[in-house]
Amino acid sequence: MSVQRNAVIFAWILLLPAVLYVAVIVAYPLVDTFILSFTDASLKKTTNWVGWVNYSKIFNATFAEVIIRTFIWTFFSVSIKMIIGVFGATMLNSAVPGRALFRVLTMPPWIVPMAIGIFMWGWMYNGQFGMISGMLQRFGLVDAPVAFLAQGSTAFWATIITDVWIGVPLVTLYMLAAMQAIPQDLYEAAWTDGAGRFYRFRRITLPLIVPSMITMSMLSLIATFNSFDIIWILTRGGPSGETTTMIIDTYKTAIGSNKYGEGAARAVLICIFLSIFCVCYFRVTSRLTSGDKR
């Protein structure tokens, strides 16, 4: 058995640098956050252990609203990202001239520093001077300028769209890779049987990229749930708190109001939510992908 034991020791040697690094740089602050969530830490020099107070404070009607809003926001953002990503990947996967260039052209939102991308959207949403409102007026679709960030309903969607925009390149890239991994002969077989392009997409492409879609949507979900800059720069969670998600609320509490304890409790809560998600995800995927191997 010594052969095996050596291998295990070696595996740990390989892992050690990465594990240690992450442990020191991230795990330590994580534990710090966890401990903080049970204290009344603030700008004050002294902190006291307060037990569950921070957690019990969180649960009120407003926060319930925030949670629900976060879920809805995340749900729509991830779903739209996946839909657009799959759509884009499908288009870019077709054998038409120029697709290499088109593939490159999908990347910029991913590359540009996030804040800049958001500023550009801010410009687009501007009612008086922005492109969307301007175009709509030009084509006579509306007669007064539309300020997209003014109303809770439009601002909610505007932030989602921007989040989608930032996430789409990576999703598209992964979906494209997943599609390219599907053996060509499956399509040829289906075509020989008379299946048209759309039918092939629906019955072959879509089912076969489902595992990749699940992985991607989970990674995307974690990122989206914690998506901060977009809402912060565009609306600061307003108007009337209608775009305030959990992470915004956490930031406002911890950094804005310097209530580090309460902020930490919120952060821990976010992590718990996401962990539950991920466990469910692993359950679902292991069931979905079993028996599908060729």
């Binding site: 004050k44 501007n126 539309v146 300020a147 960030l149 108007p239 009337s240 406002k252 310097n258 209530k259």
Partner: protein, 382 residues
């Protein structure tokens, strides 16, 4: 080696005038060095706070005076007591903005007040007297209505985005109606004066720029500069910009509410706060006072364009106003102006205020209810 006073300096680069006086001070205090760290406006204050919270405070930082109470209560900054002479040198009420528990906690370094700008061409177009700006809220609302109805152009620019200046703008209305948010340790916001201000907000909204909650004051100002709104309330910076446009404009004191005792405005100051625990507190205070003393400060604030209002009366200021009368309304408002309310959790307070304004502007709540709700909420932030 030199002893260092680190200074978090907000902006994109150090003002040459400050640079000059830092040199001068360093020359007078051998062995001392002032090391400014330039941080963009957006993150400036957060950075100073983070550093202090993490236990490595900077020597001195440029902060909004509104946060001084919070810092002081958490024992992060040291008091910067002023002599009576020093106090007297400022315009009235200014020292109040940095005073708490009978002590001064910062040295005012920048000051701003607001006045009403109006577009004379639009007034003319709407059949209003272009040389006669509204003096009261009622006139203002009526003018806005007439502009909107006659020309289709928005009559008033109301900023209500989720941004700190949304509350500032509202506080101008509160102070032009002799209102108060907090009196000592008592929340007195749920008063007829404040309610009237909120009601006025509701009344003027229909004639304001569409989608008030999408704009903060700079964006509203841009719309005014574009000639697409009849009136706005803005700082002195707007005047400098208007001179570059073809717009026919005027500037007047803010219109007054029914309970007003005189011209009023919100007095916003930024201060230099001296942080505790650096070991150079005394020298930092010394430097802070030097750099804000009438000489350097006078040079700094009267450069124009930055939107600053002078902190102290002086012959130079008078000269200046004479040369450019558009300065007058900004200085006249000081007498009856009020400070930003000081709260322990200033951000919490501000959020409640913004929420209140937005809920009224978007029609989600009646002014009375919104006011009651906000007044209740802010109790927790004292």
């Amino acid at each position: 080696a030199d002893k260092e006073i680190s200074w978090i300096y907000c902006g994109d680069k150090i003002d040459p005038i400050h640079e000059k006086y830092i040199k001068e001070w360093e020359g007078k205090n051998p062995g001392w060095k002032v090391t400014p760290e330039v941080v963009g406006w957006e993150q400036c204050q957060d950075k100073a706070t983070t550093l202090a919270a993490a236990g490595t405070p900077v020597g001195m930082a440029y902060v909004g005076s509104r946060t001084l109470k919070e810092f002081a209560q958490n024992d992060l900054i040291v008091p910067v007591p002023m002599t009576d002479d020093e106090k007297k040198s400022y315009y009235p009420n200014i020292v109040d903005t940095v005073t708490f528990d009978n002590n001064q906690w910062g040295v005012p370094v920048a000051f701003s007040t607001k006045a009403l700008y109006w577009n004379k061409d639009i007034f003319k177009q709407a059949g209003l007297d272009p040389e006669n700006p509204p003096k009261t809220w009622a006139e203002e609302i009526a003018a806005a209505k007439q502009i909107k109805e006659k020309t289709g152009i928005a009559g008033y620019g109301l900023p209500a985005k989720t941004f700190d200046n949304t509350m500032h703008q509202f506080m101008h209305w509160v102070y032009t109606n002799n209102g108060k948010v907090i009196d000592g340790d008592k929340i007195v916001m749920d008063s007829p004066e404040v309610l009237a201000a909120l009601q006025a907000y509701k009344d003027i909204t229909p004639y304001s720029v569409e989608g008030a909650t999408a704009y903060e004051q700079n964006e509203i100002r841009a719309i005014f500069l574009d000639g697409k709104v009849g009136m706005i309330q803005a700082g002195s910076g707007a005047a400098a910009r208007l001179k570059d446009t073809k717009i026919n404009w005027g500037v007047a004191p803010l219109p007054l509410g029914p309970s007003a005792k005189g011209e009023g405005t919100l007095l916003i100051t930024d201060s230099l706060a001296v942080f505790k625990g650096t070991g150079v507190e005394d020298k930092a205070i010394e430097f802070a006072k030097f750099i804000t003393s009438p000489g350097p400060q006078g040079e700094y604030e009267l450069q124009g364009g930055a939107g600053l209002t002078p902190l102290r009366p002086s012959p130079k200021v008078d000269e200046f106003v004479k040369a450019d009368p558009s300065w007058k309304p900004f200085i006249d408002g000081i007498t009856f102006g009020g400070p930003e309310p000081l709260f322990t959790d200033y951000k919490g307070f501000q959020n409640s205020m913004i929420e209140m304004v937005q809920s009224v502007v978007t029609g989600k709540a009646e002014p009375a209810d919104a006011l009651k709700k906000a007044a209740g909420e802010i109790e927790a932030f004292k």
